[in-house]
């Protein structure tokens, strides 16, 4: 029993360390090819597969700088706080039918939503402790953005939870039916868009807008701590993709599902992650007012309408 838990946690840790690298490498290559480039080609000999490992080595060798005016302990703690929530979230995302999940949790969905929200604290810590005006502006932007988008994020997730009649992620996936793709389509779009904003990916990268804020709340970070933030961003992609796949795309459902369910789940996650990367290449960054407008005037109403629709269909089906 204890061994089983240790094994599960170890497997999740492995996923935590490998999947983001996979996403990062895919981003390198996909972005490059979408811009008619080749991307990294040399590290690791074959199409630059080891580029991110080389990057990690480079980051580890860099000097660990803390600005003189910074609030040292807070500054140094922020990357860990940024990384931890996503690690915890990965624990409860189901990979396949039955027992194929890090830790089955009765209120798993709620756990995920709560924990993802903690990431804001890390951003504010990093922003304020850097003692840098660009960092502070970036942090305030991030806080406004994350607080705003948390609402449609939670509402969209609530819709699917209502449809499934459960807060447990494996339960939700188990009761998923293909026609939900249509029924929950608005919720899926809202969830995905709000999720993108939650992990501050383009086109929602206003907080780190490099053309105006240098690098936002990451401006003062170097070396391993910066790498931690980057890792957090890529784990964020994995988490948001996996959640979208599990909640709205049916997780492990698919042909020959029971034996290769985990493969379907990974495939769907990879597909959503690809879309995340694709949007970064294709779309320009939203302006701050457009960002808030999109959230409050489009996403929140759509999410609320979807909630009503979900409730109506649920009642009609009973």
């Amino acid at each position: 029993m204890t061994w089983e838990i240790v094994l599960r946690v170890a497997l999740v840790a492995v996923a935590f360390l490998t999947l983001p690298l996979l996403v990062g490498q895919t981003e390198h290559k996909v972005m490059a090819h979408m811009q008619a480039r080749l991307g990294p080609m040399y590290a690791g000999a074959f199409h630059g597969w080891a580029q991110l490992i080389a990057d990690g080595v480079k980051f580890a060798q860099k000097e660990d700088l803390t600005p003189r005016e910074a609030d040292g302990p807070v500054f140094r703690l922020a990357p860990a706080v940024a990384l931890l929530p996503y690690l915890l979230v990965l624990l409860v995302i189901p990979l396949g039918p039955g027992d194929l999940v890090g830790q089955p949790l009765d209120v798993g969905l709620f756990f995920v939503l709560a924990i993802v929200g903690v990431g804001v604290v890390a951003v504010l810590m990093a922003a304020w402790a850097s003692a840098n005006k660009y960092a502070l502006i970036g942090g305030l932007r991030a806080a406004a953005q994350l607080l705003g988008y948390e609402l449609p994020f939670v509402l969209a997730a609530a819709s699917v939870a209502m449809a499934a009649g459960s807060l447990s992620l494996p339960q939700i996936v188990a009761s998923w039916r293909p026609w939900w793709l249509l029924w929950q389509l608005p919720a899926m779009l809202v969830f995905f868009v709000a999720g993108l904003a939650e992990i501050r990916r383009p086109p929602f990268d206003m907080p780190i807008a490099d053309s105006e804020l240098v690098f936002g709340y990451l401006t003062e970070y170097t070396g391993l701590r910066f790498a931690f933030f980057l890792l957090a961003e890529y784990v964020g992609i994995v988490v948001i993709s996996a959640l979208t796949a599990a909640l709205f795309l049916g997780g492990w459902h698919g042909p020959w599902a029971d034996s290769v369910g985990w493969l379907w789940m990974l495939l769907k996650t990879a597909l959503v992650a690809f879309v995340v990367i694709w949007l970064r290449v294709a779309w320009p960054r939203l302006r701050e007012d457009q960002l808030q407008r999109l959230c409050w005037l489009i996403l929140v109403p759509v999410a609320l309408a979807q909630l009503i629709l979900t409730a109506a269909v649920r009642v009609a089906l009973q």
Binding site: V74, V107, A114, V121, W128, L136, G139
Partner: protein, 165 residues
């Protein structure tokens, strides 16, 4: 003392330590961050007491929203890095009232429940909670939503600038 008791005591100590730091630190933003620690420890207590749903609501609303709003306000009102001067009123009255309230309550609780042990609660109460809210407490729930709406409108009205009229 069972293992659960020890866990409860550790989380409690953490919460109290966080609370002490919140009310004693000279650095505004650090007070907010210590509040995260205290609230997180309380959430852990909730978990250990079997109130799983309440624990995650605590994390979602308190840590994810309330503390962030507080930090936001601290930063908007230009908190400096490092200690701020002139944060505190005279010590004695506050200490007297605070100690009286805290220690008095503690004494009361200790006297009333000091030797009591109860079976450890089971986990997973989301369903029961939902039933209770929507069966027994519908009216308070609705009143609460009206209150939230009023607070929302009030906050917006308060934070509007006059010149935007």
């Amino acid at each position: 003392m069972t293992l659960l008791d020890v866990a409860l005591a550790v989380a409690g100590l953490l919460a109290v330590a966080g609370g002490v730091a919140v009310v004693s630190t000279k650095q505004l933003v650090r007070a907010g961050l210590w509040l995260v620690v205290a609230l997180g420890a309380v959430a852990v207590e909730f978990l250990l007491l079997g109130a799983e749903f309440a624990a995650w609501v605590q994390v979602l609303i308190y840590v994810g929203a309330v503390v962030v709003l507080l930090l936001f306000a601290v930063m908007l009102t230009r908190a400096p890095i490092g200690p701020s001067p002139d944060l505190d009123r005279p010590l004695l009255p506050a200490l007297l009232v605070g100690a009286a309230a805290g220690l008095g309550l503690a004494g009361l609780f200790a006297a009333a429940f000091g030797r009591l042990t109860v079976p450890a609660p089971g986990a997973g109460t989301a369903q029961k909670l939902g039933t209770a809210i929507f069966d027994d407490w519908v009216l308070p729930f609705e009143v609460l939503s009206v209150l939230l709406l009023a607070a929302l409108v009030g906050a917006i009205v308060l934070s509007r600038r006059e010149s935007t009229r």
